[in-house]
């Protein structure tokens, strides 16, 4: 965890050396633009039921075909990006923020460390989808509860990471020195600790984004996610399940969109990891 501080120039040269960040970033940006601009992309109301055009295969009129109650799969897929990205980005930001606080406090306050890390270990022992399922079963299926449940499953990873960085830093001469000369604690955090957690958090944050998008889709798919009326990719795949053999497009288009989104985020994460942690990049 000894990445030199990232200056603008260094970031620029690293970016050109790691095309994965570019490729993943551009794809991700396209999906974000599509999600925001969904109403202007040739879509119709994703909820509109058209009994006369049920189970239509893809053609020039409706690019992705229609589902079993005649809703437009293309429109639903584009609008579905909103759900996935909102859940993914919110979970990533929340997990990093909460995990950062827990990790920092655990790294500096010894009594809290013992308790917090025991709880974090136990939470990581519960498979993330099941922890989310249990939480949602108690609180009810809604977008907020899905975000809350996935965040709860992801926070321990961040907290452990931040704590590990703090514990290494705590013993470093420059942190010791800063403490000895009476640097205020907040300044110490701001100047020495946070810059050193930035790189690993950025990488971890992108992996959490990918994992949150996946878990949200899986939860919706098994009926423990966003309410069925919401056009999320997981819901669409779950609905298409029954007619999968005669109309595979209902499952495939949201499935492919989901896979590409996760792939893009993972590419960004891998690229960032290689760029920010030279130790991992051998030869």
């Amino acid at each position: 965890m000894n990445a030199p501080p990232a200056t603008a120039g260094r970031v620029a040269t690293e970016l050109t050396r790691h095309p994965a960040i570019w490729i993943g970033g551009v794809i991700l940006l396209l999906f974000i633009v599509a999600a925001v601009a969904a109403p202007w992309l040739g879509t119709i109301d994703p909820q509109r039921i058209r009994p006369l055009t049920r189970l239509r295969p893809p053609d020039a009129d409706s690019w992705f075909g229609s589902d079993m109650i005649g809703r437009d799969v293309f429109s639903r897929t584009v609008y579905g990006a909103r759900i996935s990205l909102v859940v993914g980005i919110t979970v990533a930001l929340l997990s990093v923020a909460i995990g950062l606080v827990v990790g920092l406090v655990a790294g500096f306050v010894r009594w809290f460390d013992g308790v917090a890390m025991r709880v974090m270990d136990a939470m990581m022992a519960i498979p993330s989808i099941l922890l989310a399922v249990a939480l949602i079963a108690l609180t009810g299926a809604s977008l907020q509860n899905v975000i809350f449940a996935i965040t709860a499953a992801e926070v321990p990873r961040v907290a452990r990471l931040v704590r590990a960085v703090v514990i290494v830093l705590r013993e470093r001469p420059f942190v010791e020195a800063a403490r000895v000369v009476g640097t205020p604690f907040v300044a110490l955090l701001w100047r020495h600790v946070l810059p050193n957690t930035l790189a690993p958090l950025l990488v971890q944050g992108s992996y959490i984004l990918a994992s949150a998008v996946l878990i949200e889709a899986a939860l919706s798919f098994i009926g423990a996610g966003t309410p069925p009326a919401v056009p999320s990719w997981g819901n669409m795949i779950a609905e298409g399940r029954a007619v999968f053999q005669i109309a595979p497009h209902i499952v495939l288009f949201p499935g492919i969109a989901l896979a590409i989104t996760v792939l893009a985020v993972n590419l960004v994460g891998d690229g960032l990891r290689d760029a920010l942690d030279p130790r991992l990049e051998r030869r």
């Binding site: 136990a122 922890l131 399922v133 108690l138 899986a218 798919f221 993972n266």
Partner: protein
């Protein structure tokens, strides 16, 4: 011996904390635990009797102690929908899930080890980049999407394998395997991607070590060098990721059993979600978490097998 004992003892606090978290979820959540456990269709009398059994007026930790004791003795509560002990339901559904997980694990390791080793051996070359691109791709494909793609290709298009369903091993071993191969592949491929990445990194580290140069200087054959000298040294991080990835595998079981209609514990969970059968969900969470902890205990113990320095 003391190493084994120490690892064993170290899992106890983790298991206890897992139990505490699972218990707290129900008892500290805003709703009424008695209502949740009785189900939505329960009569006021039923709710009242469950409330009495829970002893909600007693202190939290006293109730937790009671509940823990009953869990240890195998009592995971009653299913609302089936009206039967949760433990029985899970046991009844265990075989398909265990078979699926083991086969997926086998497939994952069989793909990942050679792939990761080969990529490390040819690090930086085209073949390495291709292998690692495959790994990122595999890592990003959601299990259920992959499952449907496999069904579409192997079952619907080629008609080689059954679309869905499950046949118990005692009703025909071949049929059992034919039904299990696609779900295991869907489940194992994601897992394989994870293991392959770690295998490559661990092998790359080992291949640069001085003792590998010694092995080459001794004139050893490629196979002996890679498997005996390198792989054994790289084994600790590899089995570690196999253990950590098992959590992912368990989450995947829930989804995969739904895609392929396999009547296992995962399917039980999904049905329980739809029926709002909380006691079953709680029981499954406990059992799966315990399995995960147990697997990782085995992983810890296996370190001693690979690295003599751990045995102290």
């Amino acid at each position: 011996m003391s190493y084994v004992l120490r690892r064993l003892l170290a899992t106890l606090p983790v298991m206890a904390t897992v139990a505490l978290i699972v218990f707290s979820l129900l008892h500290l959540s805003p709703g009424d635990p008695a209502h949740v456990l009785a189900g939505e269709t329960a009569t006021p009398d039923e709710v009242a009797s469950i409330r009495a059994a829970l002893g909600l007026e007693r202190p939290f930790f006293e109730r937790f102690a009671d509940w823990s004791y009953s869990v240890i003795t195998g009592n995971l509560g009653q299913s609302i929908f089936f009206g039967r002990p949760v433990a029985d339901l899970i046991l009844q559904r265990a075989v398909p899930s265990i078979a699926l997980s083991l086969l997926a694990l086998l497939i994952a390791v069989a793909i990942a080890l050679p792939l990761g080793m080969f990529a490390a051996w040819r690090a930086g070359r085209v073949i390495d980049k291709m292998a690692m691109s495959f790994a990122v791709l595999g890592f990003s494909l959601p299990t259920f999407v992959l499952g449907y793609l496999l069904i579409l290709f192997f079952s619907v298009h080629l008609r080689w394998l059954p679309v869905q369903g499950y046949v118990a091993p005692e009703d025909g071993a071949v049929s059992f395997l034919r039904h299990l191969i696609l779900p295991a592949l869907a489940l194992g491929l994601v897992y394989a991607a994870l293991i392959a990445r770690v295998t490559r990194a661990a092998m790359l580290e080992v291949l640069g070590q001085d003792y590998m140069r010694t092995a080459r200087a001794k004139g050893l054959g490629l196979w002996r060098m890679v498997v005996r000298h390198a792989l054994k040294n790289a084994a600790v991080p590899i089995v570690t990721v196999i253990g950590i990835g098992f959590g992912m595998l368990i989450s995947g079981v829930v989804v995969t059993e739904t895609v392929f209609n396999v009547p296992g514990v995962g399917r039980l969970t999904v049905d329980a979600i739809l029926r709002r059968d909380y006691p079953v969900i709680q029981g499954v969470v406990l059992v799966f978490s315990a399995t995960y902890v147990l697997i990782n205990l085995l992983v810890d113990l296996s370190y001693a097998l690979f690295d003599p320095r751990v045995r102290r």
